[in-house]
Amino acid sequence: MSESEKPVVLIVEDEPDVAETYNLWLADEYEVRMAQNGDEGLEELDQSVDVVLLDRMMPGLSGDEVLERIRDRGFETRVAMVTAVEPDFDILEMGFDAYLCKPIRSEQLHKTVENLLERTEYDELLTEYYSLVEKQATLEATKSSAELAESEDYNELRERIGELRDDLSQTLGGIDDDEDFIATLRGLSDGNEQ
């Protein structure tokens, strides 16, 4: 995989040692960008950033404020909040996609980033699935069953829908986790507002 194809992770963390540790852990698999405060983080942010690791307590802009500006600017990047205290669903309601409690271990960090990338994949699959289901419904409403049976496009469409359904059931473990469930639903509402 070439450098440009790696998913991009942006670390916004005011403690250089901590940021560098995350960087060391992630650099093999991801293109890592680093920012020391909220303003720098927002400067580093563009459409290519897949995941932001955002420290909640920083001098200057707080993590909450940075998140608000990320959402205001319409970026669909996934944002994991890094915090010292264990929060609950409230965090997801606030618009964060995940949270990590300090101190973070390498395995935990990897798992979180992978999970967030998988959620993006799930959303994309679900959007494609919907558009094909809608197409199928339109075809079925306008053509006779005899016409449909002979239509190569229609049969291909049905096949693709079946494949997507399988893919969806295997992504995110088929939504067997509460956080994945809530965060996916929140993504639907966000998309609706835009």
Partner: protein, 229 residues
């Protein structure tokens, strides 16, 4: 391979409510759409199916877009006088004052959301209901969402479709049975066709010369013939 509940769980028998062969053994995690014109008893049917589970001690989750939690509970008590109310959870989407939660004196968990369009709030409510029922000892159960038609007036069909798909997946993982009602007269055919695809099966109700008839599609096997109910 479809990754769903690892352990084989007991099938749901709905044929005691609706005498159709295809409903005698419904797989845990199945999502069923109940579609029909207004005033044909869709909600009744969904609640009857839920009540049957409650009589067996299963969990019951009711997501309502119309009635208040207290009305739902009063009605449910009448339906199943023996119900263990700690095994009932309600998501009331017409609450004033945003998201909140409480327990009734009889132990029913109620999650309040201020609008049927608040999908995240509804999702959180369902999650907390499932958790509450699990803590009360119910490890399987049934969920009824009445109705999708109301949700469709708050948000577009694309979002409702995705919501249904994601919720069905979550219920599949929990081994729950899902029942969702939709007023087939309130939406165009294409909308119904699309929404249908988010579910494993369809119970269709129609009125024929004053009689109510029903048929079952999906759930393994060919569409059944129309029968009176």
């Amino acid at each position: 391979m479809v990754m769903s509940s690892e352990q084989p769980k007991t099938m749901y028998d709905l044929s005691t409510v609706l005498d159709v062969e295809e409903l005698s053994s419904v797989k845990p995690g199945s999502g069923i759409l109940i579609a029909g014109p207004a005033m044909t008893g869709k909600q009744q049917l969904a609640m009857d199916i839920l009540a049957e589970g409650s009589r067996e001690g299963e969990g019951a989750v009711i997501v309502s877009t119309g009635d208040s939690a207290s009305d739902i509970l009063a009605n449910y008590r009448e339906r199943v006088p023996s119900v263990d109310e700690s095994r009932v959870g309600i998501v009331d989407t017409r609450s004033e004052g945003g998201r909140s939660e409480d327990y009734t004196n009889s132990g029913t968990f109620v999650h309040h959301v201020s609008s049927p369009g608040d999908l995240t709030g509804i999702g959180i409510g369902i999650t907390k209901c499932l958790e509450s029922l699990h803590n009360s000892g119910a490890d399987n159960g049934r969920l009824a969402l009445v109705s999708l038609s109301t949700m469709l007036t708050y948000t577009d069909k694309k979002t409702v479709f995705k919501f249904c798909h994601v919720l069905s997946s979550r219920l599949d993982a929990a081994g729950y049975l899902g029942l969702f009602t939709i007023d087939s007269g309130a939406h165009d055919d294409q909308t119904i066709q699309v929404i249908k695809q988010a579910f494993d099966g369809l119970i269709e109700i129609r009125e024929n010369e004053g009689d109510r008839q029903v048929r079952v599609l999906g759930l393994g096997g060919q569409p059944t013939d129309w029968s009176d109910f």
